[in-house]
Every structure is written in structure tokens, then in C-alpha cells.
Symmetry: C2
Subunit: 246 residues, 2 copies
């Protein structure tokens, strides 16, 4: 098993991910939102690239859908929820389908075409992601959503923690130089905050007084499920049956 | 002044470098070779992409040219020198033109089209590179040649040291997340070796018993010149006259 890493949604190259197990990371905050929503009983998440697409899809049956996401880290007009994982509580999401559009995370998810499996990862479910990757026993590419096509320190250290979880379970894992560096950064900053407090995206969220989101998104392993992206939706899938678990 | 970083020759995007001061880093070993050759009196270096191109150019007047470079870190058949900086001594290079082709470095140099200035950087001339960048007073993009399109730990920490030199001279420099991470990695590993001993490319060179090259390339600031790439050649240029210094 070899683990590679792509530093932003703009840097995805099809030949690097084809046939691999891919993990999408946008810990601040899209993949934290998705993981939380599914954990709280949301049926599935449909990632879309544009606000227009989201509104059109929702108009098919407004009652069964929740509209969520952000532009410039803020709630979108006419949407139900912003990009704060704390909003996606059970009474809001249970039995519903979340239509989601964000600046970076949904773009990375949609860019994963050709991968054999696409896992949704964040710090809040990192250990579960590592276990799923070990069960899949395939080469891994961790795609950091990044921020506007740029490398993001938060996604990088989150990837480092997932790699660290893999290494703690299995010794014969090959790491590319960038995967080694992500693991190194995590090992030197196990508390996470000491590193990502310098991240530009962290600063942006702090300026918007979203400290509670930051605390939540930086909590390791509080959720033990791994949403997966398949046939245009994100949900929990039964691997044997290749069917969504409802 | 803002400093950004591109992790490999395959990841160069024209819009990121247009109009910027670009530094090309391939510390193991192409940019260490070029810097050493020019320091030892080589007139200029012509970077070419293919072996055929190198041989064709040299056939124009074999006496005035030296052929140098590598494929898979080894000397190319029919060439005068390999990719070891220690070969490029004064008695070999003085007054000659070096035609050079390497797997990663020359590709990164040729990919820098559109930049306003292109500097050749390595650990051996890092401080001089930082001083030149400060004199140019323009936004900076450090291009890591990387290894076969992949991020390289050696080029990354070398970039971190250049960024660290910039910060020690000027406080108001903006760093992207990836530049901050490179600087962080350097600050935690000022001896260089403690970090790059894990680099895949370092291992390859060690396997080939080229420890002396490694020691040399990992020596900071032993050379105080900065070769630049302009009009297809690498040389020392007089900035005022925009002419090559001979």
C-alpha cells in the first residue's frame, strides 16, 4: 500500500487517482459538515458545484431537501444552513437529503472521478477513515481540497493524522515525500492547533467569530463513520452489496 | 512582497508565475551544479530538455562546450560530466559553456517562461538568493523541481531556508500556507540532514555512493553568487545594463 497526497482541488491529475482509494479532506469545514450530517441521520449528501444547480435540484421537492454550504465562508442567500457542522443536528437533517455547495470541498469531491473508492475524511472521523483504507487494502491518494486552489495547512495536518493512524496499524506502508512531510508535521503538532493557528483559512474563520466550529473541527475521532461518494451521492454504503445503507 | 511555492515542475501554472520573481530549486543536484559551475568561471549554462538537443548543440563547436547532466541520477553516455557539482571545477569549466540536461531541474527552468526574473537557487547560495529577491522587491514564487513530477523533501526544506533568510531581513513579507510550512520545516530542522535523510531522492543518491555530493549540496551559503536564466541561457547578469557579466 502506497500513500500519496494532492495539495489542492486545482492540482488533481486523473492519472494519479485512477483506480486508487481516494480520501477527500476539507476539514474547515465541508467534510466535517458532511460527516456530521450523515452521522446525525441525513440520508445522503448531493455535492453540486454551483448555487444555481443547488436551487434547481431543491425545487424538485423542497420538503425532502436541505440546502447547505457557503461562499467566502458565509451562508448562501435562500439556503437553510451555512457551512457550520454544528448546525447539522439530528432534528434538522434526519431523513433528509442535503444538497451542498462549497468553494473548495465539493469541487474536490467532484474531481475524484476515476478513483475506485472515494472516502470523506476530516479530523472528526480520521481513525475510522484509516481503518476503512486498511480494509480496502488499495493504494491511497489523499486529496486536500485546499483553499481557492492553494495548499491549506489545516487539510495538510489532517492528512498527516490519517497517515499516522495508518502507520500505527501497519508498518509496510510506502509514503511519498509529501505524505512523509504531512505525517512529520502531525507528529510535531499532535494538538493540531499549534500548527493550524497559522493557516490563512483558520484566520478567516476566526475573524467571523466561528471559534466553536474550529474547536469542533479540530476534535479528533469523535465520529466513527466514513461517508463515501458513489454515483453522485455521499452516503454510507454497504461494501458487500455495493448498496447504500438506509 | 508575497512568497508562494510550487511543489514540482509538473505543477507549474503560468498564471501563478507571470510577472513574478521566480527561484528554481533542484538542490539534489541540478541547481547546485549550475551555481558551482558559474562560480568556477563557466561562461553560461544552456539548459535543454533532451539528450539529442544537447548533443546537437554541442556539435556546433565541441571545444567550447561541456556536456553535463543525468538520467536516473547517472552520467549520460557521451557526456563530459555527470550531475555531481564536485566535477565542475575551475580547470574543467572556465571560459566554457555548459550544455545541461537533467530529469527535473532543466524542466523546471524551461517552465519558468513568463516570470519577470528567474533565479537559480540551492542551499549553497541560499542567502545570496534571498538578498537578490529583496533587491528585486517583487512577489516571489519558489519553484521546486521535485522528482519526476512529485514533491521532494530536499527542495522543500531548501525553499524553507530561503524564506527564512527573507524573513530575517524583512518582517512584512506575506507567506502563503505552503511557504509558511516550508519555513516551519526548516526552522525545526536547521541542520537540514535530520529532515532530508527521509527523502526518497536522498536515498537514491546515497545508494549510488554519492555521499560527498550530499555533503556539498547540504552546505549552506558557501557561494555568494546567483545565476539567472534569461534569453535561453543561465549566467550572471548585470541588472542595470540587462547584459551578461563576462
Amino acid at each position: 500500500m502506497e500513500v500519496d497526497l494532492i495539495i489542492s482541488a486545482d492540482d488533481i491529475k486523473k492519472e494519479k487517482i485512477t483506480g486508487k482509494s481516494v480520501v477527500i479532506i476539507d476539514m474547515l469545514r465541508a467534510t466535517s459538515v458532511i460527516t456530521t450530517a450523515i452521522y446525525n441521520g441525513c440520508d445522503s449528501v448531493i455535492p453540486v458545484l454551483t448555487i444555481e444547480e443547488a436551487l434547481e435540484k431543491a425545487s424538485e421537492g423542497r420538503g425532502k431537501y436541505i440546502l447547505g454550504g457557503e461562499r467566502k465562508a458565509l451562508k448562501i442567500e435562500g439556503f437553510d444552513c451555512a457551512n457550520s457542522p454544528l448546525e447539522y443536528k439530528e432534528d434538522i437533517v434526519k431523513g433528509k437529503t442535503l444538497i451542498m455547495t462549497t468553494s473548495n470541498g465539493t469541487r474536490a469531491i467532484k474531481g475524484s472521478l476515476g478513483a475506485s473508492s472515494v472516502l470523506i475524511g476530516a479530523l472528526i472521523n480520521a481513525k475510522a477513515v484509516a481503518e476503512k483504507l486498511l480494509a480496502l487494502d488499495n493504494d491511497v491518494v489523499i486529496i486536500n481540497a485546499g483553499t481557492c486552489g492553494q495548499f491549506s495547512m489545516d487539510d495538510f495536518i489532517c492528512s498527516g493524522y490519517i497517515i499516522n493512524c495508518l502507520l500505527s496499524q501497519r508498518k509496510d506502508i510506502g509514503l511519498t515525500d509529501i505524505s512523509k512531510t504531512a505525517n512529520y508535521v502531525y507528529e510535531e503538532n499532535e494538538d493540531i492547533i499549534s500548527f493550524i493557528k497559522y493557516a490563512s483559512h483558520y484566520k478567516r474563520i476566526k475573524e467571523l467569530n466561528l471559534e466553536k466550529d474550529l474547536d469542533y473541527c479540530c476534535s479528533k475521532d469523535i465520529i466513527d463513520i466514513v461517508p463515501m461518494y458513489k454515483n453522485g451521492i455521499i452516503a454510507l454504503f454497504d461494501e458487500q452489496k455495493e448498496e447504500q445503507i438506509v
